[in-house]
């Protein structure tokens, strides 16, 4: 923790100082050339003026220009949203110029709620935009992963396994995803290809997204997809990232093998008797024994040949063969991304066609993921008054097999690392059927608890086939110069086919399969339609009004069906008709609808004071009809202080913004019928169906839950736009929450659904942007973000000061454990008379799951055509529970178990004395919640030796709680790009060409062993890998 903190601080300080340091500019000269942007893409329309004259030009569509000018003249390159550059012309007749965006673009527009574009200056709330170019080179499996560390206030927990969704939270809650103005609530992070993304604008607070209604309550990620420009361009972008080695991989002991209490001999794979019940508490390996042919101790093993005469297994040497099991089994992963897109357009319209494929090869053999997209988008000005824009994307995600990840015999690490002694070499398991029992019995050293990992990879197949179609159509009709009518409808559809093929003899938790085939299909239709009337007018010189009046309808229909066999008659024949026993299945259909009416009004005064008011009324189907209509408002104010006050010369700009909003949500859970008290279907007993009444009591008069948010922010620019500091404080009060109030089970219910409890979410967000170096040849750009977040319970229900296991005033992200041992006030274990620690009957808080702060730093250094990017991000504080650690101590694979006590236990000796005390007298008195009221206990050192193996099996090594500090810092990305110079490309058909070497996930500093804390949870996680590869981007 300490270490990680100090590291974070150092980084912060270095970049802060760098940002403030004054750097002088250098100069140069003449005169054909090309002007490119920070990504080396040509910029058309850049204005070039010879200083002090009227002569000048603008760049053409390819960013090229020619100009008659003498050496010694000064040229001024300017383009909206970019820092103006002055360059002195030398004798050289070729001049390539790169322009950089002003660190935050004041005059630039961002896309806000409902797709309305607004000037950054006028916003009363925090937004942060990320350019789509950033995701193109160093590819992540999906777009959301790429946002890690980029946005102040957005936490992305990256998972390590193939095709697992990252967890995202913006100010502590999951934000809405909006694609081209259309909410996409299916939370599919895989369906938008990064090549098609123009930008992602993050609307951080409810104020920003209030116009989306309840679904926008927690902010929004506004994804804007690319459109065509004028002229015709073709772009090819190709990335290949290899996964050459591990960032984190569990390290296991290689001294002892399978077995229990130091003994092992294979009998029949049942795990019973001398097989040691599946434990890895077996004998020391590689022990010499001169009496055997091999010179090592020999025992019967699973791969022993049988003596043809006696039928007995012939002993084999008990040696460590499997020290490299992880590396031998897992293959090197790969992410390969290819995109081609064509854009073309005239003054009246344009289109863009794009095709992409992402192929990902998993670490586990025979696992992969394909993700293919086609999209078409375009706009056309039908008449002077009517214009239209539309886009549609078809996306297919498909894999015949992706790995299962939670703890259990379906997890690869479980079978490969945790529960396999190194006396087994995984390579010997490659032929995974027992000879003569193909299709019926897998070959493994233990057939009761574990799966042969190869058997699992090649026979237990989890298919996933999802078709997404999403898009929108928009019409804008100019009724009069002030009045515009916009109609837009958008669609998010998907159909998902999931199948699991489970072979005979496959081990699941607690049982061995007779073979099964599971089918799960689901489909969703999600439609959002808006009709908006816009009125925009200036009154006099100083006043402006922009008002919207809108109506919206949202409709979601979801259906799912599952059907399962009960045993397979013919092995490996995966068809429901092959079921041995009756099929079972279920299905569900849900529909929900929201109708809304809303308005917004932006009033500006002198282009320096901006007031925004919004209001929205929803009618929802997810609450009883009597309570289903509700209204909520928001107000925002932005003032450019620097326009009124005389600021010091280095301080260019200062804006204060503040906003308040209220958003109500009438949705209780993902099931839109949650407000209806009804029976659930119960077990079907031999053809008799049944019903049971659920334990959650629904109050029929529930109302929508509400969040009041306010935020205040300060936006500052210094040194001619080379330094920007933006600070925000936000506070959200969640009240009238639709909560499941836990009640005494003796009341017949476990909870009651009520409005109640109150939570406060709050935090700071800092964005810091700087251009510490900026010359025509060398630039260094730094973006840093930093944020804090916490949520506390401020009010309980029914006037009590407790809510579940929380007390009013406490943080809600506490990790509670009810499986701890009793400890003295000093924290020492209290040992019982049997030598083992005594269980604590009370629940204890073990820490907080949220970090104290999160941060990210992105750097880009450009020298001529070469660009170097590197970024760090991390989290400080927070607690993570490591199931990997717990199970390694429990099962006997943890390297810490290699010690004398273990050898003694193998010899049947009890020599381990737990570090703790025994109570010799006195008494302790607890209050109702386990807090000590009085304590007169006296202690003596525990002296009772016990069996070391029994200690670990019973207490999971009570010296540790397996809760760890989750702080970490990651070198997220390192990339070097080279833009081929224009001179070189002139003779080719290419307009631009860029090659990059990229690496993601390269270094990790953390205090947890064996796992990557980035994922936020550890359920026996897949090893974390480095990604290293290259990108080629061509335009012609």
């Amino acid at each position: 923790m300490e270490k990680a903190y100090r590291f974070c601080l150092k980084i912060l300080v270095i970049f802060f100082l760098a940002g403030l340091a004054p750097w002088s500019a250098w100069a140069q000269s003449q005169l054909v050339g090309v002007v490119v942007d920070e990504n080396s893409a040509p910029i058309p329309g850049v204005s070039i003026l010879e200083k002090g004259t009227l002569s000048g030009t603008v760049t053409d569509l390819d960013g090229k220009f020619t100009l008659e000018v003498d050496a010694g003249a000064t040229l001024v390159f300017s383009y909206i949203g970019y820092l103006t550059q002055e360059i002195t012309v030398t004798e050289d007749r070729i001049l390539d110029v790169q322009l950089f965006p002003a660190v935050t673009d004041l005059e630039g527009v961002v896309v806000t709620a409902l797709g309305v574009e607004k000037n950054v200056k006028s916003l009363g709330y925090a937004v942060q935009e990320v350019d789509g170019e950033r995701f193109k080179k160093a590819r992540e499996p999906n777009l959301i992963n790429s946002l890690t560390g980029q946005i102040a206030g957005l936490q992305v927990n990256n998972t390590t396994a193939l095709f697992q969704d990252p967890q995202i939270s913006l100010r502590g809650a999951r934000p809405l995803i909006v694609i081209d103005g259309i909410p996409s609530t299916d939370n599919d992070y895989w369906k938008v290809n990064a090549d098609d993304v123009e930008s992602i604008n993050v609307l951080k607070g409810a104020t920003a997204s209030a116009l989306y209604g309840a679904i926008g309550r927690n902010g929004a990620l506004m994804i804007t997809t690319k459109r065509g420009g004028q002229g015709t361009q073709v772009e090819i972008n190709s990335s290949t990232l290899f996964q050459p080695n591990y960032l984190v991989v569990p390290e296991v002991q290689t001294t002892y093998g399978n077995g229990d209490n130091g003994q092992y001999a294979y009998i029949d794979g049942s795990g019973r008797g001398t097989e040691g019940f599946g434990w890895i508490w077996g004998p020391r390996l590689n022990q010499p024994d001169p009496s055997t042919p091999s010179g090592f101790v020999e025992v019967p093993q699973y791969n022993s040949p049988r003596d043809p005469n006696t039928g007995e297994l012939i002993p084999l040497p008990l040696i460590s063969r499997g020290e490299n099991n992880i590396r031998n089994f897992f293959q090197r992963g790969l992410i390969s991304t290819n995109n081609i897109n064509i854009t073309s357009g005239t003054e009246n319209g344009s289109f863009r066609i794009s095709g992409s494929n992402v192929y990902q090869k998993g670490l586990v053999p025979n696992t992969e993921l394909n993700n293919t997209s086609f999209s078409v988008s375009g706009g056309y000005k039908i008449s002077d008054k009517l214009s239209t824009d539309a886009s549609i994307t078809y996306n297919r995600q498909y894999t015949d097999n992706f790995p299962e990840t939670p703890y259990g015999p379906e997890n690869y690490l479980y079978n490969l690392v945790l529960w396999t002694g190194v006396d087994v070499d995984v390579r010997d398991l490659r032929n995974y059927w027992v000879e003569g029992q193909e299709g019926f019995q897998q070959k493994h050293f233990n057939n009761t608890y574990y799966n042969n990992p190869y058997f699992q990879a090649y026979e237990y197949l989890r298919g996933y086939y999802k078709d997404n179609t999403f898009g929108q159509v928009k019409f804008d009709y100019q009724i009069s110069p002030e009045l515009t009518l916009t109609a837009r409808t958008g669609l998010n559809n998907y159909a998902l086919d999931r199948t699991d093929k489970e072979p005979k003899s496959y081990v699941k938790y607690g049982r061995v399969s007779r073979g099964n085939f599971y089918i799960y299909n689901s489909a969703q239709i999600n439609m959002n339609t808006d009709l908006i009337l816009n009125y925009s007018k200036r009154f006099g010189e100083n006043w402006g009004l922009n008002a919207n009046l809108g109506a919206a309808n949202r409709f979601v229909r979801f259906r799912s069906e599952s059907i399962n066999t009960d045993g397979l008659a013919i092995p490996n024949f995966y068809n429901v008709a092959n079921s041995e026993q009756p099929l079972s299945g279920s299905n569900s259909l849900t529909k929900e609808k929201i109708n809304s009416a809303y308005f917004s009004a932006d009033i500006d005064f002198m282009n320096a004071v901006f007031l925004t008011l919004t209001g929205r009324n929803d009618w929802v189907s997810t609450l009883p009809v009597a309570n289903n209509s509700f209204f909520y408002p928001s107000v925002g104010l932005a003032t450019t202080v620097s326009d009124f006050l005389t600021m010091p010369s280095f301080w260019d700009f200062a804006k204060v913004r503040m906003s308040w909003s209220q958003v109500a949500d009438g949705r209780i859970s993902s099931n839109p019928y949650s407000h209806i008290q009804a029976y659930s279907t119960g077990i079907n007993w031999n053809g008799n169906p049944s019903l049971f009444f659920p334990g959650s009591l629904v109050n029929p008069t529930i109302r929508p839950e509400t969040s009041d948010s306010y935020e205040i922010g300060l936006d500052n620019r210094f040194l001619g736009g080379r330094l920007g500091i933006d600070l925000t404080y936000f506070q959200i009060r969640d009240y009238n929450n639709l909560i499941s109030v836990p009640v005494s089970l003796a009341s017949g219910f476990s909870s009651r659904l009520e409005n109640g409890a109150e939570f406060k979410r709050s935090g700071f967000e800092l964005m810091f942007n700087a251009l510490p170096i900026q010359t025509s040849e060398l630039t260094w750009e730094v973006n840093l973000n930093f944020s804090t977040y916490k949520r506390i319970l401020t009010e309980s229900f029914d006037g009590t000061d407790r809510f579940g296991n929380l007390t009013v005033g406490e943080r809600t992200d506490q990790l509670f454990s009810s499986s701890q041992f009793q400890r003295t006030p000093e924290g020492r274990l209290i040992i019982g008379n049997n030598g083992f620690p005594i269980r604590d009957p009370y629940q204890r808080s073990m820490g907080f799951s949220n970090p104290d702060f999160i941060f990210g730093v992105q750097n880009r250094v450009t020298y001529k055509g070469i660009s170097l990017g590197f970024s760090f991000d991390g989290r400080a504080g927070g607690t993570i529970y490591s199931l990997t650690s717990e199970k390694m101590w429990w099962g006997g694979t943890h390297p810490g178990t290699v010690n004398q006590f273990r050898d003694d236990a193998n010899e049947g000796q009890n020599t381990f004395v737990a570090d703790g005390v025994v109570v010799t007298g006195g008494e302790v008195e607890y209050d109702d919640f386990g807090n000590i009221l009085s304590d007169t206990r006296t202690y003596a050192e525990n002296e009772r030796p016990i069996n070391y193996i029994a200690w670990n099996k019973t207490t999971l090594n009570a010296d540790l709680t397996h809760y760890f500090d989750a702080s970490f810092v990651k070198l997220r990305e390192l990339s070097i790009s080279y833009q081929l110079p224009q001179q070189l490309l002139q003779r080719t058909f290419l307009n631009t060409a860029n090659v990059s070497l990229v690496g993601r996930n390269l270094m990790l500093w953390s205090n947890v062993e064996n796992i990557d804390p980035d994922s936020g949870v550890d359920n026996l996680q897949t090893p974390s890998v480095r990604n290293i590869g290259f990108n080629i981007n061509l335009g012609f």
Binding site: A487, S690, V743, G748, A950
Partner: protein, 485 residues
């Protein structure tokens, strides 16, 4: 663009805005019913109430031992138990409600019986429990008071009396009945037999006047017309397992039962010393005996329930120690699970006879009980009679209770939940081994602590119950009312 097409395009959007169903239509959940036939609720209750196979009980009752870790049941280190039975009591109250709606007295009677069943189970675990105010959350009571155990039992006896009287040829058809297929007489037999079990569980309270257990027992036993009781294994309150997903024997395919549960030493030694043929259907041969004949008792041995975990695992690694018979994990149907069986009833009657609550010959009922148990476990009548003919098995006068309750304990193996433990707690028979390895310093606990959730959600009522019973402490060694003479 023509005016008509503008209108058309506007009209299209208005159509979208007012699309689909009305809000009223969307208040109907197509996936869940709001009303239920009582038969559908009954099926669910039965699958729970009659499912009684408990490995925990077998560990705590010195029938099995566990080797994967220090079991809190085996080494008597348990602390809290759960109030999950109240989830079932909610179903029972729904059954009663739907029975009223249908005006069906039979379902009403069954609801009373199941209510009694769950209240007894809860009270056996904890002592005082919420009963009179329990399961009233629907009418707004979320913190029910705890009733003294005595009051719980008195109300249970009343409910059982009432349940029997409600049931008759005219009381209404019972559907969805996976236990007795609607046979009302069998239900009456089960209810009255269960009534006798409850009375016997109060034997320590023999002298309590308001309970008058002996009189009540005799009133039922001696009036079979009004109070029919079970007369054979056909009358067992038994859940029969089926080889269908979710309907299989609960430990079928259990990896742990296959490898981590073994027979307890005192139990195996008893079976061996009495030449009990149930040895061969309860246990499998130990590793060392795998080449011996299946019916050779020397191929079987047990491991000490109070011995150290490492001692037991070391013995196993040496090939000593019988696992449980493979049918318990490899036969998807195996044998039924009992809420209450005929064998148990016969042992209860024998005990009542020994205690002079009724006039009957304890030997007859004792032997009936053994025969029923043998039959239940598939032992042939010939082997059964051979067993009964042994002097060591016959019921003497001096140690009648000891012999009887030991046989009852043997018969309870893997079929009737925690009854063997509760019986032992009531009578001390058979003796359960203790040692330094036992976690609870006071040995065998007398009860379980109340669930943590009650501290959080019903504290004042909980504290009142603790003050009343145990001087304010929630302690597994606290002696509940039912165990105080």
């Amino acid at each position: 663009m023509k005016r008509t097409s503008k209108i058309y395009f506007l009209g299209l959007f208005v159509a979208f805005l007012s699309s689909c169903e009305s809000f009223e239509d969307l208040q109907l959940d197509p996936n869940r019913p709001v009303q239920a036939e009582p038969s559908l609720i009954l099926t669910q209750i039965e699958t729970n109430a009659f499912s009684s196979v408990s490995l925990g009980a077998a560990l705590a009752s010195r029938q099995l031992i566990y080797t994967n870790s220090l079991s809190e049941n085996q080494y008597y280190g348990w602390q809290r138990a759960s109030f999950n039975d109240y989830n079932q009591l909610r179903q029972v109250s729904k059954l009663a409600e739907e029975a009223d709606r249908k005006d069906n007295g039979s379902y009403r009677a069954l609801a009373l019986f199941f209510e009694a069943n769950y209240l007894v189970e809860l009270s056996q675990f904890f002592g005082d429990i919420p009963a009179s105010e329990a399961v009233l959350g629907g009418s707004g009571n979320f913190s029910p008071i705890y009733d003294p155990q005595e009051r719980v039992y008195l109300s249970v006896l009343e409910k059982l009396e009432e349940a029997n009287s409600f049931l008759g040829p005219e009381s209404g058809e019972i559907l969805g009945d996976i236990i007795f297929n609607g046979d009302i007489l069998k239900w009456k037999k089960l209810i009255n037999s269960f009534h006798l079990r409850v009375l016997m569980s109060l034997s320590i309270k023999e002298n309590n006047v308001s309970l008058a257990v002996a009189d009540r027992f005799d009133a039922i036993y001696s009036n079979p017309t009004s109070y029919p009781i079970m007369t054979s294994n056909q009358d067992n309150g038994a859940l029969v397992y089926v080889d269908i997903e979710g309907n299989r024997y609960p430990t079928f395919n259990s990896n742990e039962l296959r490898t981590a549960y073994y027979m307890e030493k005192s139990f195996i030694d008893r079976l061996k010393s009495l030449n009990d043929p149930r040895l061969f259907v309860y246990a499998d041969k130990e590793t060392n005996g795998r080449n011996l004949d299946d019916f050779d008792p020397t191929a079987y041995s047990g491991l000490g329930g109070a011995d150290a975990l490492s001692t037991n695992t070391n013995l196993l690694l040496e090939g000593v120690g019988s696992p449980i018979d493979s049918r318990y994990h490899s036969d998807p149907v195996n044998q039924p699970s009992l809420l209450m069986g005929y064998a148990e009833l016969e042992f209860i009657i024998a005990e009542a006879a020994i205690r002079n609550w009724i006039s009957a010959d304890p030997r007859v009922h004792y032997e009936n009980g053994i025969r029923a148990s043998m039959e239940f476990n598939g032992v042939s009548p010939k082997d059964t009679e051979a067993y009964l003919s042994q002097e060591s098995v016959q019921l003497g006068d001096s140690d009648a209770l000891e012999r009887l309750l030991t046989e009852k304990h043997t018969a309870f193996f893997m079929n009737t939940g925690w009854e063997p433990f509760f019986d032992q707690r009531r009578t001390g028979i058979p003796e359960f081994s203790l040692s330094e390895e036992i976690i609870n310093p006071s040995g065998i606990p007398k009860r379980w602590m109340y669930p943590q959730s009650e501290i959080q959600l019903n504290l004042s009522n909980l504290n009142e119950a603790l003050d009343r019973q145990f001087g304010g402490d929630d302690d597994i060694n606290g002696v509940p009312w039912i165990l105080k003479p």
